[in-house]
């Protein structure tokens, strides 16, 4: 009996160490990526790099200002499209848990979340780029917005579902109309969860390349016209990293680091917002 107990205790110990080991192991890929991108990219980044557009092959220097501006614009427009739709849809789903529309809507959201981004890119190409007749940043934003939607919707829904019903009743009992209860009581109380969903979805799409290949297309020049083709960081990395020129490889590494920092900052801000805006029930 004594021996068997000892054996079982040893098994528990081993199991405990295994899960600790794996918890530690999963940090390695991230550390490796950050380390490698920092090592190769850091030396490329300078003020010149951030404020100039790429030079033709053969000339020294050049930067990625076009891709930086493009990425910011494309992501911003995507967020402007997706955030209101996503939050409203999330509100509906949390308010109508068992309606038929909610069931199919939730199903659609789940499938959309699993749809390969390249497929979304192609569909947007056929539905928007082709009829209009030109690649454009706007079509890229639309493709990215479609990718953002499921994340915003589900995080809004899950956040609002956790709020107690008594909160809604408190508002209604004060004579507030339904829309005011939602917009002035329920949504503010769930703000931290909703915002963190928005931030995470932005972080998610900031590095997407596939949906932009047939939509925003890329552009070697700086432009702020969202109806024209536009460069973006992931596109630039994709195009330049696969080119045969060393100067372009350097630009791609610098852009990679920039993108990585951007996504990391978004994630850290999300954590901070969640804590700061958290409403204590």
């Amino acid at each position: 009996m004594e021996k068997r107990l000892q054996f079982r205790l040893t098994k528990s110990k081993v199991f405990q160490w295994i899960i600790i080991l794996f918890a530690f192991l999963i940090t390695i890929p991230l550390i490796a990526i950050i380390f490698y991108v920092l090592k190769t990219g850091l030396s490329k980044i300078s003020w010149h790099f951030l404020t100039h557009i790429p030079k033709p092959v053969g000339e020294i220097g050049g930067g990625i200002a076009n891709a930086l501006v493009g990425s910011l614009l494309i992501v911003m427009v995507a967020a402007i499209i997706a955030v209101p739709i996503g939050i409203l849809c999330g509100i509906y789903l949390s308010e109508n848990k068992s309606s038929k529309i909610a069931y199919y809507s939730r199903l659609a959201v789940d499938i959309l979340q699993g749809t390969p981004s390249i497929v979304i890119g192609i569909v947007v190409y056929f539905w928007i780029v082709k009829p209009i007749g030109t690649f454009s940043a706007l079509s890229g934003s639309i493709a990215l917005a479609v990718m953002m939607l499921p994340i915003v919707i589900r995080s809004t829904e899950e956040t609002l579902k956790l709020l107690p019903d008594t909160l809604k009743e408190a508002g209604l009992a004060l004579g507030l109309p339904y829309h005011k209860v939602i917009m002035r009581v329920i949504v503010p109380c769930g703000m931290s969860g909703i915002l963190s969903g928005v931030m995470l979805s932005v972080a998610r799409i900031a590095g997407e390349t596939a949906p932009l290949l047939f939509t925003a297309f890329g552009n070697p020049y700086l432009t702020a016209n969202i109806l024209k083709p536009m460069q973006s960081l992931p596109l630039l990395i994709f195009n330049y990293a696969t080119s045969p020129y060393d100067e372009w490889h350097d630009l791609a590494w610098g852009a990679s680091l920039l993108l990585l920092i951007w996504v990391l900052l978004l994630n850290i801000t999300t954590k901070w917002i969640t804590r700061k805006w958290k409403v204590q029930l």
Binding site: P164, E169, L172, A173, L174, K180, C189, Q280
Partner: protein, 252 residues
């Protein structure tokens, strides 16, 4: 009754096919405290929630019969108007967690988008908190979040929030069941003060509380209004054997 502010006439309430309030006839006189008591599941809370039309918010919930406020059928008025005239305090304190104490009290105006000069707002907040016997405890922390208060203070904050709207009737659904004895007695004292200006309807399954605070008591059993009388009369000389059994503790 001439001075009845609320009068329910052959009133019924249902959850789907479940008949939870059966043919209730009851007149609620002005500036009285009415206690509604009865065992769990007797329909007392449902009846209360029918008075300000909160019952119908539950999917599948329906009503039949008349519920009059000053001879006007509540179910023909706009529910928002009804809820402005008939305030409610819930079983668990539910201050808005995103708002300060000050904003919680003024929430009915603020969230409704009614613009008031700051002096008026200050006056409403102070008088409501005074009436709810909370002013002295929170006057220096008005801009802190309401959720930092203790349970009893939160409940008084909810009462202040409800009376800030100057309702005619205040419904209270077991307002002290989540509170400790000291907070309970302070809220009971408050009810005594509040009836000078308002009519109170209080659901309670605590008989002692009903005896302490109310002028009239209604006893519900299995969805029926068994007996409705002067509180002293009810407790000393119940007419119905079921009331007698309940009061003497033969079932609860």
């Amino acid at each position: 009754m001439e001075s009845a502010i609320i009068s329910s006439q052959n009133f019924n309430a249902y959850f789907g096919t479940n008949h939870v309030v059966k043919n209730v006839n009851m007149d609620i006189p002005k500036n009285n405290v009415i206690a509604v008591m009865g065992p769990s599941g007797c329909g007392k809370t449902t009846f209360l929630r029918c008075i300000n039309r909160m019952h119908e918010l539950i999917p599948g919930a329906t009503t039949a019969g008349k519920m009059l406020l000053h001879d006007q059928d509540i179910y023909e008025l706009n529910p928002i108007l009804v809820r402005l005239k008939i305030g409610m305090v819930f079983q668990r304190p539910n201050p808005f967690p995103n708002l300060s104490i000050y904003d919680n009290v003024i929430a009915g105006y603020k969230l409704n988008g009614l613009k008031l000069p700051k002096a008026d707002r200050d006056a409403i907040v102070e008088s409501s908190l005074r009436k709810a016997a909370l002013w002295n405890e929170v006057k220096d922390t008005l801009h802190k979040k309401g959720t930092f208060l203790s349970g009893g203070q939160q409940q008084r904050l909810c009462i202040a929030r409800a009376i800030a709207m100057e309702p005619e009737v205040l419904l209270m659904d077991e307002p002290t069941s989540a509170l400790d004895p000291i907070s309970t007695s302070s809220i009971e004292e408050l009810m005594y003060e509040l009836k000078k200006n308002y009519t109170l309807v209080i659901v309670t399954h605590n008989m002692q509380q009903a005896g302490r605070v109310s002028d009239r008591t209604a006893f519900f059993f299995l969805g029926e209004l068994v007996e409705y009388d002067d509180t002293r009369e009810m407790f000393t000389n119940p007419k119905d054997s079921r009331t007698q059994n309940y009061i003497t503790g033969r079932f609860s």
